[in-house]
């Protein structure tokens, strides 16, 4: 059996590591830390005389939509380059917006102006043409695709959703 000194040491050491770990996690995940890391990254690229990845020209953003279930209505494609605008689904602050008549299966939509940087792409199959993604309670009744999402209910954060300008595949999911 452990002695009381060992028990006390176990309790104090474990509590200490837990609180220290949680505090460290809080500090490391704060917006201030992220800003400092981004600044350090930027300085690194400058000192190496390299163009940061966000400014490299990788070609126009060309979105291939897959899995469109019918040719009813329109497809609406929104490209966001701003995290807050993307997370608030703010259509006023998109980097690019294109609408086209829906085609069953796959179709490609190109944004000629978006040649560099990273974008979160949102595609809506607006079957009834009301310029909105319709819902039944919490589940969408129309098709929706977000870059890097794996289902119609998956709502990836900006950092997972973002893709480099260039050819991109986005699957349109139906619930």
């Amino acid at each position: 059996m452990p002695s009381n000194a060992m028990r006390l040491f176990g309790l104090v050491a474990t509590t200490g590591m837990f609180v220290a770990g949680a505090w460290l996690a809080q500090e490391a995940s704060s917006p201030e830390t992220l800003a400092a890391v981004l600044e350090a990254d930027r300085e690194y690229y400058e000192s190496q005389d390299k163009v940061p990845p966000s400014q490299q020209i990788t070609g126009p953003l060309s979105v291939t939509l897959e899995g469109i279930r019918n040719a009813k209505g329109k497809v609406l494609v929104l490209a966001y380059d701003d995290k807050t605008a993307y997370e608030n689904s703010d259509p006023e602050k998109v980097a690019g917006f294109i609408e086209a008549s829906a085609k069953q299966g796959a179709m490609t939509i190109t944004f000629p102006d978006l040649t560099s940087g990273e974008f979160a792409v949102v595609a809506i199959h607006d079957e009834n043409g009301n310029y909105d993604l319709d819902f039944n309670g919490l589940t969408p009744t129309e098709g929706v695709g977000v870059s890097n999402a794996f289902g119609s209910l998956d709502n990836p954060g900006f950092d997972r959703a973002k893709v480099k300008a260039g050819p991109v595949d986005v699957t349109v999911h139906y619930y």
């Binding site: 995940s29 990836p156 950092d159």
Partner: protein
Amino acid sequence: MEQFFAPISNEYVSYLETLVNDYFFLIALVYLAFELVRYAIKKQLSWTLIGDTITNYITLAMFIVTAALVVGLFYVSTFFYVYQFAIFDIETTWITVIICVILADITYYWEHRFMHRVNFAWATHTVHHSSPFFNISVAYRFGPMDGIWPLLFHLPLALLGFHPFVIFFAEIFVQVYQTVLHTEAIRKLPRPIEAIMSTPSHHRVHHGSNEKYLDKNYAGIFIIWDRMFGTFACEDEKVVYGLVTPIESVNPFVAFFHGFYRLGRDVWNMPGFFNKIGVLIHPPGWEPKSKPKSPAE
């Protein structure tokens, strides 16, 4: 460095958890086939070993059914309930996930030690130790209540401010690492690794019924917790796997329920109410200091 510090979505972490768990189950089956071939070559393959392996997966199925019935939604909702009272404001990033895995590993150490040294928790964990063999299928040998204890022990992480999905991912990560340790095919790893990480060698010791190996090497990922808290033992004599009192059966029902049967029997036979409670909360094999006379005497 940005990718480590930028926020990631909790749903994504949850998706990864399922992915890691499911794919690893398949990888483990392939590895089991390799181990069985190895035993066949060494002429150690027996019908008992095959029966025991099948029993391991049957206990897994029974564990999943009991876990789904008893724990299921209750488990997830308890974490989200506690998470409301978070002390720290922790955004989910890869750095956060790594810290959470380390803390979950310390948690695993204490939970595991508790399951060995407190009789009512040992009643379920003894199932895992009741196999006289040591291969990757033993890692999937679970007892009826093995889903309950992780809940209690990991709740403080939610109270500290880690998102429940991040905690579940960390639990699965530690569990999957632990699973890999159940093999005889890897003897010893280079010394720096043996010094810091929990290895198959360390975990063979943990499964030993040898006197010097009892209640040693509880660690999940890092063996340093055992070294720190005085429960470390090195593998230097041949390990005799299984329980001090073996179950000597490959019957899945015997394997799954023997812990509660033995606990019930010991409580029943112990005279005196407080001594009965004592049997429940003390380590396995406990006896009161002064044996009370039974009332009949």
